[in-house]
């Protein structure tokens, strides 16, 4: 009976979403406060019912209710409870349910933190969120019911895709969705602003913390996904320019551009139309990401079995949302409003160039990702675009971004103290050159390593110099407002990330070797001794587990246990063994036995020495912190209670911040 309750909850949530998506917008249009007042309870009710549905599905997984098709397809009796819980979003239906649940998490957050928004504006924001929700709930209710029954009930279920049976996977989808879906808030704000006609500068200030928080989550989601790929999927790679990865990277790039465009609009009043457009883009790219991952239109190294018919539904939804909002944008976007004038050498210019580069990068990634579809439509044959396309163009596009990043904070709004800029340029230039020279000497002139260290110094020293300048000149307690601290953290994260990428790419040593038990292979001063393979059993798999002893200068550093797992449904999964550190990772993965009948004999192994690889994720975490810290800035909180419908006279704050 319970699963049917879950389905009922979804239907009720759908009806409430329809109410939330229509009545408040109608009320805001006609000035009817009773209709606008529907927004809150409808949104809250929808959230309650969606949570209920999610809980019921989770309960079905916990209690092995294999009469539910989705549960039977994605779990079995031997699957540990934590993976049964993660299995709730392990396939199509459940991941959609998670999508809606997270949309409701953001809506509830809006209900808490947005209470001081002007009534009409708030009604419109919730209305737009409701409309977004309607699309996904309709999808769930009409095409992808997670509560469909399987009769007669099978004694045991299939299995969760073994690729997903990993701690990283429990974290990755919810966090990534927090990011994707979080952009719906900025989207709803911008649509509400467009609907209200007069595009207020204030809406941008209200939207900023939401954008920053969503971007922080998206960063964490991508970092988690990348790290998961590193040790489960990727044989030691951390990014493959795969369609599914690109799907999450495009909204990230657009989000980064949006964060900076919002800063300009809020502080200087310029770029209003551009900021609105970017808000729409960021959310549209999130939807596109969902579409690409869920439809299976593209061949991806980790496209999970999916159903093209459902892809068509998401595509139609995407066209309606994007087409509708662009139409609204075309009708209502502000005419070229005069922003405060700015000089060529100014913070505005730097931010504009950054924006241009980030959006070009997003467009470049999109072209490469969708090109197989375009080629197919034009009958050019079956094409895929190789990673070198992205690997060449992306760094090229990012050169100006990296070059300008340390200068940005020193540049003033509108104009800059050119002498100061010159002196900063000289200082970070000398520092970068000196470190580059040192690296050239240490690495025998490895180009990428030199570039990595130079970028690290260039951005890092720039960030530190600015932090020091604030420390000296600003009064105590006002030195680092959250907004600025967040910016410095995120920029520092970029420095660490770039260094991690370039250093690990240039200095890694990898060997695919064939080793018989007892044999040893030397890599970068570490000696890897293969001590054979034996059988072990896990809760729902059996594994061939290798023993590799790593030593350096005669002393043992690590004993590593890479595994080759065979899950209960005969799916095979490689579990690498990683001995991590701040400055290097040692990585061992089992390939295959040279003679399949004799697992105690020689094996193919992949051995890696990867210096600085963890900096990639550490840098990403810094960026994430930047997003969250920035979102917490007090300045973004709405000060005065907006009791009346008139939005005039709100939030007038004299405070000026240097960020």
């Amino acid at each position: 009976m319970t699963p049917e309750l879950g389905q009922l909850a979804l239907v009720l949530a759908f009806l409430l979403a329809v109410a939330q998506g229509t009545l408040p917008l109608w009320g805001a249009w006609r000035g009817n406060r009773a209709l606008m007042a529907v927004a809150r309870p409808a949104a809250a009710g929808q959230a309650v019912f969606v949570t209920m549905a999610f809980a019921i599905l989770a309960w079905a997984f916990m209690h092995f209710d294999f009469s539910v098709q989705y549960v039977a397809d994605n779990s079995n009796l031997t699957l540990p409870w934590y993976y049964r819980f993660a299995a709730v979003w392990g396939a199509h239906e459940g991941s959609l349910l998670l999508w809606v649940l997270i949309l409701d998490v953001w809506t509830v957050a809006l209900l808490f933190f947005g209470t001081r928004l002007p009534e009409v504006f708030f009604a419109r924001v919730l209305g737009v969120m409701g409309l977004v929700s309607v699309g996904f709930l309709a999808f769930l209710v009409f095409t992808s019911n997670p509560f469909g029954r399987l009769l007669p009930e099978p004694p045991n279920g299939a299995d969760l895709n073994p690729v997903l049976q990993d701690p990283g996977m429990a974290l990755h989808p919810p966090v990534l969705y927090m990011g994707y879906v979080g952009f719906s808030v900025a989207f709803a704000f911008s649509i509400a602003a467009l609907l209200s006609g007069e595009v207020e500068q204030k809406w941008v200030r209200w939207a900023r913390p939401w954008t920053n928080a969503a971007w922080g989550f998206l960063t964490l989601g991508i970092v988690a996904g990348s790290h998961w790929a590193y040790h489960v999927l990727g044989w030691g790679g951390w990014w493959f320019w795969d369609p599914v990865e690109n799907a999450s990277f495009m909204p990230w790039l657009a989000g980064a551009a949006l964060i900076h465009a919002q800063a300009i609009t809020e502080k200087r009043g310029g770029l209003r139309a551009w900021t609105l457009l970017l808000s729409i883009f960021a959310f549209a790219l999130s939807l596109l990401g969902t579409f690409l991952v869920r439809s299976g239109v593209l061949t991806s190294v980790h496209a999970f079995a999916s159903d093209p018919r459902r892809g068509v539904y998401i595509l139609i939804y995407l066209v309606i949302v994007v087409g509708g909002s662009l139409l609204l944008y075309a009708l209502r976007a502000p005419k070229m409003t005069a922003s405060k004038p700015f000089n060529i050498v100014s913070r505005e210019t730097a931010l504009l160039i950054g924006n241009l580069m980030l959006i070009s990068a997003a467009a470049m990634v999109m072209l490469g990702t969708l090109f197989p579809l375009i080629g197919d439509a034009l009958h050019l044959g079956r094409i895929s675009v190789g990673p070198p396309y992205f690997g060449l163009l992306f760094p090229l596009l990012m050169i100006p971004v990296v070059a300008l990043m340390p200068l940005g904070p020193f540049l003033g709004w509108g104009d800059a103290d050119r002498d100061q800029i010159t002196s900063i340029l000289i200082r970070i230039g000398i520092a970068a050159a000196a470190c580059a020279l040192l690296t050239a000497f240490l690495t025998q002139g490895t180009f990428k390593a030199i570039l990595g260290v130079a970028s690290l110094t260039w951005i890092g020293i720039g960030v530190l110099l600015y932090a020091y300048k604030r420390y000296r000149t600003a009064p105590r307690g006002r030195r680092y407002p959250a907004e600025m601290a967040g910016m410095l953290l995120a920029h520092f994260g970029v420095a660490v990330f770039v260094a991690g990428v370039l250093l690990s790419e240039s200095l890694s040593v990898t060997h695919d070797v064939r080793l018989a038990p007892g044999q040893t292979k030397e890599i970068a001063g570490y000696s890897f001794q293969f001590n054979g393979v034996h059988r072990v059993t896990g809760p729902n798999y059996r594994a061939d587990q290798g023993v590799v002893t790593v030593s350096r200068d005669g002393s043992t550093i690590a004993v590593m246990h890479p595994q080759k797992r065979t899950y209960s449904n005969e799916q095979v999964q490689t579990e690498s063994a990683i001995n991590g550190g701040v400055f290097r990772d040692l990585y061992v993965a089992l390939g295959e036995p040279m003679d399949p009948k004799n697992i105690e004999g020689a094996w193919a192994l992949r051995l890696y020495y990867k210096p600085f690889v963890s900096w990639i994720w550490i840098g990403g975490l810094f960026m994430m912190c930047g997003g969250f810290v920035c979102a917490a800035d007090k300045r973004f909180r709405i000060k005065r209670i907006a009791s009346e419908v008139t939005p005039a006279g709100l939030v007038v704050e004299p405070q000026e911040s240097a960020a």
């Binding site: 895709n161 690729v163 044989w235 299976g296 239109v297 061949t299 190294v301 980790h302 999970f304 079995a305 093209p308 070009s360 470049m364 072209l367 490469g368 090109f371 197989p372 080629g375 197919d376 044959g381 079956r382 094409i383 895929s384 675009v385 190789g386 990673p387 070198p388 396309y389 060449l392 163009l393 090229l396 596009l397 695919d512 070797v513 064939r514 080759k564 005969e570 799916q571 095979v572 999964q573 490689t574 993965a589 390939g591 295959e592 040279m594 003679d595 193919a604 992949r606």
Partner: protein, 152 residues
């Protein structure tokens, strides 16, 4: 026509944008051209369709019993087949987890004489799932040759 400063500035900005985007587009198109990999099945390759591409992707099924490991190194030989053709493949390295007899694979690489030298071999994570593009390519290569029975 005399140019006032603001018009001149606008013109400068415009020309910078035009030059930059022209440059960006040409580099982009070049990179795209260099990295487009077409997918062919063995019979299409034997039919000469892959002739003009240096690097391409070979897709099909691993012929049962064709996987031969070297005794001393990581070299491996196997044969990729579709309904109407077979292509020997040479690869050095570790094969993916799901690589086995009768499994669909996509190998990236180039022709060397009459065999294919792979630099990357992909097999799918999901056993029941065959890449859509591969399925279609195999169906297309097989079209018009009735009575041979698809291996699918």
């Amino acid at each position: 026509m005399a140019m006032n400063p603001s018009r001149k500035r606008r013109l400068t900005i415009l020309s910078v944008i035009v030059v930059a985007s022209a440059l960006a587009i040409s580099v982009g198109v070049y990179a795209l051209q260099q990295n487009m990999n077409y997918l062919f099945t063995p019979s299409q390759v034997l039919g000469g369709q892959a002739h003009s591409y240096k690097t391409f992707r070979l897709g099909g099924m691993v012929k049962a019993g064709s996987i031969k490991r070297s005794e001393t190194s990581l070299d491996v030989h196997f044969t990729v087949v579709d309904a109407d053709g077979a292509m020997p493949v040479e690869y050095t390295g570790i094969l993916p987890d799901l690589f086995r007899d009768d499994q669909s694979v996509i190998a990236t690489g180039h022709m060397d004489g009459h065999h294919f030298v792979a630099t990357e071999v992909l097999a799918k994570h999901d056993e029941t799932y065959m890449p859509k593009e591969l399925k279609e390519a195999m169906a297309k290569a097989h079209a018009g040759k009735p009575g041979l029975g698809s291996r699918e």
